[in-house]
């Protein structure tokens, strides 16, 4: 030990003697063997030394220290009791060490400052004196007594109680021996701003592997946004980018951009960090940063890097010098429209393409998932529009009509589609050589055929009718769906290579093999798999008298006959429609039948429905179309009998109904009104009350309602090689839903034929997404939804289409109404544009566990948003800017290429800079943000330099404390910048200008200054997400939300979790030089830890008394670290603690009912003796 060497233990200068008075104290060196010779001594009867520190006058000024010593000096086991001026000082410690030797002390009570301050100091001292360091108790007489109470009896009494309790408690201490755990020689730096960059480089330079985690796609942080840096005015990018490149190229640094810390386990020297690698959708290594993707991206959203003053595309690179120099796609979950679409159409994508007039691409995109764009664009029930978020603002985007527009455009521009549009969709050749039979050519059969053919399968479609298209063709009348569109879209599919269509070829599903007919059995022999998509072509019957009469049709049969006649198919005769037609039912088929009957010449068409309009399952818009055409509705009536007159229909007798209680579908159940019937004269009756499977007995299993039974996820039937989907499985549903099930069935068939697991990776039902952070535009244009033009009801007497579609202008205008909810529209244009195939829109977040020994938090700051300070009008008056916005304007790579101009492009003539916006303000941030004065001076200089405008700074105090700062202030003053001492009170507009109102406190006068531009010098706040990060890393934050250092003066880079350090502005506002210094300091602290071979783990951990443990497993349940487990001991299960995992929180100890777990150093007996003494200690001698 040498005199006058600097102390190694940190000592609070506020209360401690000058360093010269202190002695060198060795740092703790706790080894069990050090205590071997003293083991017996430690276990002997307690011999306690009590030391009450006066702490100069810090304690002694308030507490009667001699009286405290006197009061406890005769307590049992107390051998020595003394007071000294500074117990933490060298002489103070030495006197204790001498006492230990002279009086064979084996326990020590120090009554001084908080144990959080010097407990380590005393422990080290005990170690040096050969006493186990855990045989120490510290009574806190300073922070908890002398500093908060005034001198007096009560205060001294409190001190006595605390010391006496510490004496009673220390007698129960046992020697403890910390475990040693090796240190993982790697570090993680969280945050890639200048602090994180500096810390990473320092650590890497010293040979430590570093993982730099940055949540944005590029490192650089706020410094990358700056133009010049004060006071030297060197270009920010010029000094930062070389360092960024160093990070990228340093062999010891692993850069994890676009990543966030998800979870932290472990402890100092042995952390396990789980990092979420957010999906970037662009392969960083493959991306050449060529910018081709940006050219095709249809989405424009404000650039964060430019503070919203410029736009960027959804696939982007934050700035040109980004590191890693690769693009990323900004996705905010799945757009609600796409999520709602049963067929999975990339809705936002095709809408975005239409908005840019890229109709061919739009059509191709729709085509990927929807084989019938034109059909679906006309008859879809469009759940996408129901979910459209634009509806929350005004009306949903007209997605269905936009889809129709794209399809119609494709129909009218065949030259753009030289090759069959569906062919490009080729996915692979998995199924080359496989043969699949498809029964039914409806939408589901065609979808399955197309999907399988795209995988090079050979598909043969067997259609019972003489026309293809199923219900699309024979169930939907022409005024809703023109035949030429149908023809094109069906033809697009059946003309694909690998698809063969057999019309008029019915297949019997009956189990009996009928030699003459084509049967399922035979198809199964000839094909590798069979798909059944036979739809629901049989109309249900009511079972009332007169249903068999001539002039009574089922709705579905009626429509089919009419469609046949339009298709020139000779199958039965055109239905005859009388003057008065009754259509029974409330669904879409009923509406179609009614409107068709009218077109066939009926004079009076009535829809009879047993409930009311509110309960009608038909779509609202269809009901309205029908009403417009004069169709009558007779509600609350239920047919009882169709009455004939001479063999043909003459009337229908109906039961009047009323609505009763809701049934299982939630609709109110109709109940007959007894005795109330009505007879309506009718010539034709069309029964449209439901559809059934058109097959009686079939080979595969049927479900409860007669539909084909399939596995709801795989669509496999009871026979392994037979799959089914569509209406035949689900009952009648919309085309888009049928297509969706077709895709799934086709995928199952593909997997079946490839011998893959059918269920693997399938979504279990509809996945409920976590609330996605949809893109919220700051403003949205108020264009209303485009109205589609249609033919007037009076003209609609033929089977020509009712709706006429959008014009090109309408389509583009309507598409521009899209709010781009998911940011990236998933138009997939970038995929095609990318020459190196770096883009994968299906990427998902991945998780990586990284083991490190130390962590440095460098999560930085956010610029405060001054919108809440309404008096300054930020966000209201365009010429009010924040400092960082002017940085971008001034920056040569910024939106104005370095010209500081107003929004109108002209240079300002007078600019006001308001200081301390939101800082030093009890309503916002009470603290000084430290950087604003200096950057305001810098901006003033730049504005003077670039525009010669007059610059007036409204300030409270100028804080120019750093090296060269005051000189810079001087310089700016000489450059003619005007300084007004006084806080800006208000900014108001006046005649194309803004007027700043303030008080000049030097003159004591109000100031009113018209200016062209106002710059708000906003301060800094903790970065968004700092709270979450603090929770994940278990570190605490101060009252303002900055991370809290372990000691404000002596441990400014340690967090209060061992092994986690703080760098830069995450801890407090600071400028670049200070940030870099702080970061290097943090790196040095981390290096100190990482250069040790091991760390010692606290020995104050839980211990099980296995004899008394009943094995109830409570401890196992409550432990956050999984330290206790149940293990067998003498034939029963008892708890055992894994010492390496236990952190000593005592949660299990407090929970253990039988008190079979103890927390070393905090045993029940120790706490009980402390409680007892605190409450019962008497100062009176007996």
């Amino acid at each position: 030990m040498t005199k006058n060497s600097a102390p190694r233990m940190p000592i609070d200068p506020e209360c401690c003697p000058a360093p010269g008075d202190t002695e060198n104290i060795n740092s703790p060196n706790l080894k069990a063997e050090n205590f071997q010779q003293n083991e017996s001594m430690n276990k002997d009867k307690p011999r306690i030394g009590v030391y009450v520190c006066m702490c100069g006058s810090n304690i002694a000024g308030t507490v009667n220290v001699p009286k405290v010593v006197e009061a406890v000096s005769h307590m049992p086991n107390v051998v020595v009791a003394r007071y000294n001026k500074y117990t933490c000082s060298g002489p103070g410690q030495q006197s204790i060490q001498e006492d230990i030797k002279a009086n064979k002390l084996n326990r020590v009570v120090v009554s001084a400052c908080s144990p959080r301050m010097h407990e380590r100091t005393w422990r080290a001292m005990l170690t040096n004196a050969g006493v186990n360091p855990y045989l120490l108790e510290v009574a806190n007489l300073r922070e908890h007594v002398s500093w908060i109470h005034s001198a007096g009896e009560m205060t001294t009494r409190k001190a006595v109680d605390l010391v006496a309790a510490a004496i009673e408690r220390v007698a129960l201490h046992d020697p403890l021996f910390p475990q040693r755990v090796p240190v993982t020689k790697a570090a993680m730096v969280v945050g890639g701003g200048i602090a994180g960059i500096q810390a990473s480089l320092d650590l890497a330079q010293a040979g430590v592997p570093v993982y730099l985690v940055e949540r944005e796609p590029s490192i650089g942080g706020h410094m990358a946004q700056l133009d010049k840096t004060f006071p030297t005015l060197d270009c920010s990018a010029c000094i930062l980018t070389p360092k960024m490149v160093d990070v990228a190229s340093h062999p010891n640094i692993t850069l994890l951009s676009n990543s966030e810390v998800e979870k932290l386990d472990g402890f100092i020297g042995n952390f396990q960090v789980t990092v979420r690698r957010k999906a970037r959708y662009v392969d960083v290594d493959a991306c050449t940063a060529c910018n081709d993707c940006v050219k095709v991206c249809p989405v424009q959203i404000p650039s964060e890097f430019e503070n919203g003053m410029a736009e960027r595309t959804a696939i982007y690179r934050p700035f040109a010098q980004a590191v890693p120099n690769a693009f990323a796609i900004d996705k905010r979950g799945e757009a609600p429209c796409k999520a709602a679409c049963p067929a999975g159409i990339h809705v936002q994508g095709f809408v975005a393409l239409i908005a840019e007039g890229r109709f061919k691409e739009a059509y191709d995109l729709i085509q990927k998932d929807m084989p019938f764009p034109g059909i679906c664009g006309r008859v879809c029930h469009h759940p996408c529009e129901t979910e459209c978020r634009r509806a929350e603002k005004d009306q949903p985007v007209a997605i269905e009509f936009l889809k129709r527009y794209a399809a119609d455009w494709a129909f009218t521009h065949p030259e753009e589609f030289v090759e069959n549009t569906a062919v490009y969709n080729l996915k692979g050749d998995d199924l080359a050589g496989k043969k699949i039979a498809i029964i039914g050519s409806g939408p589901v059969g065609l979808t399955v055929a197309r999907d399988l053919a795209a995988n090079s399968a050979e598909c043969e479609i067997f259609e019972a009718l003489p026309v293809a298209g199923g219900m699309m063709n024979v169930g939907i009348p022409g005024h809703r769906l023109p035949k030429q569109i149908l023809e094109k879209e069906i033809n697009d599919i059946v003309s694909l290579p690998g698809i063969k269509l057999h019309l008029s070829t019915p297949v019997s599903l009956a189990p009996e093999v009928n030699a003459s007919a084509m049967t399922l059995e035979r198809l199964r022999q000839d094909f590798d798999a069979v798909f059944v998509g036979i739809g629901a072509h049989l109309g249900s019957r009511m079972g009332i008298p007169g249903e068999d009469l001539e002039g009574v049709y089922s709705g579905i049969e009626f429509l089919r006959q009419v469609n046949f006649s339009h298709l020139n198919v000779d199958l039965g005769s055109q239905p005859k429609v009388g003057k008065r037609v009754a259509v029974v039912g409330g669904g879409n088929v009923a509406i179609d039948a009614a409107m068709t009957a009218r077109r066939l010449g009926a004079e009076e068409v009535s829809i009879i429905y047993r409930r009311t309009r509110d309960e009608m399952p038909a779509h609202d818009w269809e009901i309205e179309e029908a009403a417009d055409e004069g169709i009558k509705f007779i509600f609350l009536a239920n047919p009882l009998e169709v009455i004939a007159d001479q063999g043909s229909v003459s009337a229908i007798k109906c039961q009047r109904m009323r609505l009763g209680a809701p049934d299982s579908s939630g609709r109110r159940r109709p109940e007959p009104i007894e005795g109330d019937t009505v007879t309506l004269p009718m010539d034709t009756v069309i029964m449209s009350i439901g559809q059934k499977l058109d097959a009686e007995s079939i080979e595969i299993n049927q479900g409860s309602k007669g539909w084909i039974a399939v596995d709801p996820q795989t669509f496999q039937t009871s026979e392994r090689d037979v799959f089914a989907a569509g209406d035949a499985v689900t009952g009648p549903v919309s085309i888009v839903e049928v297509v969706g099930t077709g895709h799934q069935a086709a995928e199952s068939i593909r997997r079946f034929l490839c011998g893959q697991e059918l269920l693997a990776g399938l979504k279990q039902g509809k996945t409920t997404k976590e609330t996605p952070g949809y893109y919220e535009p700051a403003a949205w244009d108020r264009t209303p939804r485009q109205e589609i033009s249609f033919r007037e009801a009076a003209d609609r007497n033929d089977f020509d289409e009712i709706y006429l579609g959008f014009t090109e202008d309408q389509a583009v205008a309507e598409a521009k109404r899209c709010l781009s909810c998911a940011a990236c529209s998933e138009c997939l244009a970038c995929v095609d544009a990318c020459g190196v195939g770096a883009i994968d829109h299906t990427a998902v977040d991945t998780f990586e566990q990284i083991d490190v020994g130390a962590i440095i938090i460098a999560s930085g700051f956010d610029v405060w948003d001054p919108t809440p300070m309404l008096e300054y009008g930020y966000g209201v008056y365009p010429e009010v800017y924040t400092g960082i916005e002017i940085e971008r304007l001034s920056n040569a790579s910024g939106p104005t290429e370095g010209n500081i101009v107003m929004r109108n492009g002209e240079k300002p003539e007078r600019v006001a800079i308001l200081h301390c916006v939101g800082s030093r303000d009890e309503h916002h941030q009470p603290y000084c943000s430290r950087i604003c004065c200096m950057y305001s001076l810098k901006l003033a200089h730049l504005i003077r330099e670039k525009t010669s405008a007059e610059v007036v700074e409204f300030y409270m105090d100028i804080r120019s404390f750093g090296k060269g700062y005051e000189e810079f202030y001087e310089r700016v003053q000489h450059e003619g910048v005007v300084f007004v001492r006084g806080r800006g009170a208000q900014v108001l507009p006046q005649d194309d200008q803004l007027v700043v109102y303030a008080e000049d406190t030097d003159l004591g006068q109000p100031v009113r200054l018209p200016v062209d531009m106002v710059i708000l010098a906003t301060g800094v706040v903790p970065s968004k997400g700092a709270d979450e990060l603090a929770h994940k890393l278990h570190v605490t934050r101060d009252i303002n939300g900055f991370f809290l250092e372990a000691h404000p003066k002596l441990r400014p880079v340690d967090s209060n979790t061992d092994g986690i350090y703080l760098a830069g502005t995450c801890q407090a506002p600071r400028d670049i030089p200070d940030t870099v210094t702080h970061a290097s300091a943090a790196a040095a602290q981390a290096l100190g830890l990482l250069s040790q071979p091991y760390v010692e783990v606290v020995p104050t951990i839980a211990e099980v008394d296995e004899l008394n443990c009943v094995g109830c497993s409570l401890c196992v349940e409550v432990c956050p670290y999984g330290a206790p487990t149940l293990a067998e001991n003498r034939g029963r299960l008892v708890s055992k603690i894994n010492e390496a995992l236990c952190k000593g929180c005592g949660l299990c100890v407090a929970g253990c009912r039988g008190k079979a777990i103890a927390l070393r150093g905090f045993t029940d007996n120790q706490l009980l003796s402390q409680i007892e003494t605190l409450l019962q200690f008497s100062m009176d001698e007996r």
């Binding site: 806190n140 409190k158 278990h1034 605490t1036 101060d1038 809290l1044 005592g1146 706490l1167 019962q1176």
Partner: protein
């Protein structure tokens, strides 16, 4: 209630937040009444609610248990479980005849020195108003008992 009644209060403070908060109150010289005696524990989850019962029976007039704010626990979940334990114990003690205000459980962070001094002040005042603890087993100091038996 005599004017001179000085309640005895014991506070169990978690080392990481509340004890540091109390230290901060000291460092910031934010004064509060002398009645509280602080016991440092690793976590509010260490403080078996039975300590509260025992402390009251041993003669305390009020007991405070302070821990980290929810989500800030140094040990991840200690304060959450403590919260559940005390929600039950507090109601049980009330039901057994204890005045509600004799037990105070709250969250004080390391930066809330001001809050600490405020809660101690207001709690002391409350307990002073309720008066001495009726559950207390032993007399104010053991000496009184001795005098009784030897007289």
């Amino acid at each position: 209630m005599s004017e001179s009644f000085e309640p005895k209060i014991v506070g169990f403070l978690c080392n990481w937040c509340s004890y540091a908060g109390a230290d901060l109150a000291g460092t910031s010289r934010m004064s509060y009444p002398q009645n509280v005696r602080i016991i440092r524990v690793p976590c509010s989850g260490r403080v078996d609610p039975l300590f509260v019962v025992k402390t009251l029976i041993d003669g305390a007039d009020g007991v405070m248990v302070l821990g980290c704010h929810p989500g800030d626990c140094h040990y991840q979940q200690g304060n959450y479980i403590a919260q559940r334990r005390y929600s039950i114990m507090h109601r049980l003690l009330e039901f057994s005849g204890l005045e509600t205000d004799r037990l105070f459980v709250d969250w004080v962070s390391a930066s809330e020195g001001k809050k600490f001094s405020e809660v101690v002040t207001s709690f002391t005042e409350k307990v002073r108003n309720i008066g001495p603890n009726p559950l207390r087993k032993k007399a104010e100091s053991g000496i009184d008992v001795l005098e009784e038996v030897s007289s």
